[in-house]
Subunit: 183 residues, 2 copies
């Protein structure tokens, strides 16, 4: 039942955005009785939070291409593809996190989980000598991914097909030169 | 009259956020007749757009510290200070740009204007030989500033006092190594 309801939330969100999302429409679309939806999820904020929490349970693992720059570039291409997918579910979830305290908290949990899973990219690069020992994973991952999010979510510019590779290359180059070994 | 009304918008937005912002409260706070406010600005979206457009008319110039890394770091400190100021007017304007089409368009104009003004930082660094000729200003500026916005606006983590300098240093290092000379 959870899967049907969350599928319906994603579909409604993609079609109508946060402003058009209602518990009643989700219940109708999912075929689950609306009283059940209200009892289990409470409101739109609860539904959005559960979509985000479910995204964190998906077994996702970061790319493993054999090189740091390759892994970071593949990660950025995944991010750009997700952020520009139609219907725009991920973009709508980020927008919703500015509106609903529950969605905000769930979105923060998801960011923290995703960046933690990605730390293995940096560990591997240190392991095979591509990066100096003591390179800090989190600021390197933020440096690599932030330009892609910034371009699409805040600047709201059309996707730049070169940006995922360029941001990854830039972060990897700086990391090899020790930009993230101390502060 | 415009200055009083826009001051009132910023004050109401800082105190109550987008959801608490009303034309009537802005009119009352500014001492301007509400019919006048409705006639000139239309609605909350029109008021927000004018606050953002006014921010673009402020004669702001980017820092000029004598070095690329210094300029980028000073810029990042300005951004971090603005994003964490109380009341949180800038953060509320960014959040509002997800809600109002007029605020969204005005926010895009402001981003474009600010990044265009900052290109002189890169021109100066090329001029005194700190950066290779042909370094592209915009992706370098995005690489330097994006981590600060990403950390505060999307990840919504507490401000990291080391991040403005670190992101600036990282972008400057990559730029010196030619990361932004081609794509």
């Amino acid at each position: 039942m959870r899967a049907q309801v969350l599928d319906a939330v994603r579909a409604e969100l993609g079609e109508h955005g946060y402003d058009g999302l209602t518990v009643d429409a989700v219940a109708a679309r999912s075929g689950v009785h609306r009283a059940t939806v209200y009892r289990r999820w409470g409101d739109v904020g609860g539904l959005l939070a559960d979509v985000l929490d479910a995204a964190g349970d998906d077994g996702w693992q970061p790319p493993d291409t054999g090189s740091l720059a390759g892994d970071l570039a593949a990660l950025n291409h995944e991010i750009q593809a997700a952020m520009t997918a139609e219907p725009p579910v991920m973009a709508a979830l980020i927008a919703a996190s500015f509106r609903s305290a529950q969605a905000d908290a769930a979105q923060r949990r998801l960011w923290a989980d995703r960046y933690a899973r990605c730390e293995v990219i940096v560990d591997r690069a240190i392991g095979h000598g591509e990066l100096p020992a003591g390179t800090r994973a989190r600021p390197l991952l933020v440096a690599s991914t932030a330009p892609v999010y910034h371009h699409l979510v805040l600047l709201r510019l059309p996707p730049d097909p070169a940006l995922p590779d360029q941001a990854a290359r830039t972060a990897a180059l700086a990391a090899r030169h020790g930009a993230f070994t101390d502060r």
